[in-house]
Symmetry: C2
Subunit: 329 residues, 2 copies
């Protein structure tokens, strides 16, 4: 999860010379920070450095990303006229810098580890586009879906179509797997979740041309995995509030699971990091189908040596759960 970033001095050195969006848009730099954690932390896969909001930006919305405030859209989209004004043609062409970054990253990786690309899910993208920035109560997007459900669905559908094209293009450009993030899935009631979030993730999963690339869905805050288990995807992401053993017992071997260490564990003493890592490995138990990961993005203040230590723990401790001869799945 979000491997590159402020917790690495090597990343900060590059960010000092360039703003966030320019970094996303410059393939040479984006690929450089993408590869940093492979060498420094020792993780088993690279995650292409980017931002989920490049899609609305490519649709013509002016985006500012300030690390102090998070992303801000100068002019949020709040009615049908604004939705109609979004430039839905040529989005993938305008996102060509992402494909160039994928190519540059593959060269730098030289086959060492696979490369994962991601996209925000329509609901999360729409939330940012309508609110204009992060929110605590999300009353603007919710007023919008309650007051103008038809307009909301129009926005979600055009985003879903863009996400399909975007992820297909990423896979074609060389991503070995893709992840769909629905950061704000957890703010919805069970029926709104179904109507405004899951319906569009389902739409995307049903239409991706994966060419065999695994699809990971992470709908943060969704507390019923039964709902996610029916999606046409390969992996489900878990934040740290779920018991990975119970989720495995609940949904069986239909999906691999990704997660689910609390990112704050990286602030713990070493022995505690080891303990918590083993707890999750043990909860998942023997057999394949577990991608060990943090349950959300790594925090800017996480000590690098603790991230390194956690990765070492996973590699050592997981051997007893993942010996090929003992696979139970």
């Amino acid at each position: 999860m979000r491997q590159a970033g402020r917790y690495l001095p090597e990343y900060r050195a590059i960010r000092e010379k360039t703003d966030f969006l320019t970094l996303c848009k410059t393939p040479e730099l984006a690929s450089e920070v993408t590869v940093q954690p492979i060498d420094i932390i020792g993780v088993d896969a690279a995650i292409l450095f980017s931002d989920i909001l490049v899609i609305p930006e490519a649709m013509g919305m002016r985006l500012e990303v300030l690390e102090s405030k998070g992303p801000v859209f100068e002019t949020p989209v709040r009615d049908l006229t604004a939705i109609r004004a979004l430039k839905t043609d040529g989005v993938i062409e305008r996102l060509n810098y992402v494909m160039k970054a994928i190519e540059a990253t593959r060269q730098k990786l030289d086959g060492r580890v696979p490369l994962i690309g991601f996209s925000g899910a329509p609901w999360t993208l729409a939330t940012y586009m309508v609110e204009g920035k992060g929110s605590k109560s999300f009353e603007i997007i919710k007023s919008f879906i309650y007051s103008e459900p038809a307009a909301a669905h129009r926005l979600l559908l055009l985003l879903a179509d863009a996400v399909i094209d975007y992820l297909n293009a990423k896979i074609k450009a060389g991503c070995d797997a893709v992840q769909i993030f629905d950061t704000w899935a957890g703010i919805l009631s069970p029926w709104d979740l179904e109507e405004f979030s899951l319906e569009y993730i389902r739409y995307i999963c049903d239409r991706l041309e994966t060419n065999g690339a695994p699809v990971i869905v992470f709908a943060k805050g969704v507390n019923s995995f039964q709902k996610l288990a029916g999606l046409k995807c390969d992996v489900l992401g878990l934040d740290w509030t779920m018991d990975i053993g119970k989720v495995r017992a609940e949904i069986g071997t239909k999906k691999a699971l990704q997660g689910n260490l609390d990112p704050c564990v990286l602030f713990a003493p070493k022995e505690r990091i080891k303990e918590e890592t083993e707890k999750i490995l043990a909860k998942f138990g023997r057999g394949s189908g577990h991608i060990f990961n943090l349950g959300h993005g790594i925090l800017p203040k996480a000590p690098v040596e603790n991230a390194q230590y956690m990765v070492t723990c996973v590699k050592q401790l997981s051997l007893k759960y993942h010996r090929p001869s003992e696979f139970t799945l």
Copy 2:
């Protein structure tokens, strides 16, 4: 949930003349804003106006409550020395203004509706005391529980003892029911939730001298109600992400349920407010044991007329689910 507050012009008129903490500490004013929603909104119970952080404030921590920033403790508690320095003797005496506010409120209510008092749960109080203010990632409190678990448990235990005394005193002073809020329960992994949050709620519930006053537990973000169903309390609060019908099916008639309308529904058009209200009533179904409520505090910008309309809807629509002759529980 948090009935008094910024959404009412009548509340804002009083707040313009006094700061938040003074309002909490002035029985005449606290009782006045407590009673406002009974007359204006038409709700069936009053919730004593106060703040969960009056307990740490009565332990000697300097508290500032700015509506723009939320509550801030000037000097957070982050080690054993600071925990030892907390003034745990005489807390209830220093909170006597709350008991005076209860008495003043009962006079103003004159038996019209019952009065509910509340307290923060130890985990949520400790989170604010250690972080010093609200947080997005909660890395300071989590570092603390991982690095110094013994000190953390010492803090949680002294808070639990204070909460018991506080709620007992509230019941004695005239509260008809009490609620324990664990706003930050949902940020913990399943095992940390058990160790640092639920264990202390259980400790409190086992020791309250209720004299028959119902006890409501609201552990926000907890996604397994089985864990809460064993507590010695009468009612469980639900936020809006849970399906109240499923929770009822899961835990049976052991507990009454309180909730669970999304507070953002109050920004919807009237027909949608009615629809969402009925949806929840229908999901709970026939029989007693449902306290209709928002799934969290009412938002400052919620239109008063929509809150009034929602209450009217509940009173009208719930008749068919709650006719005494048809109680199925």
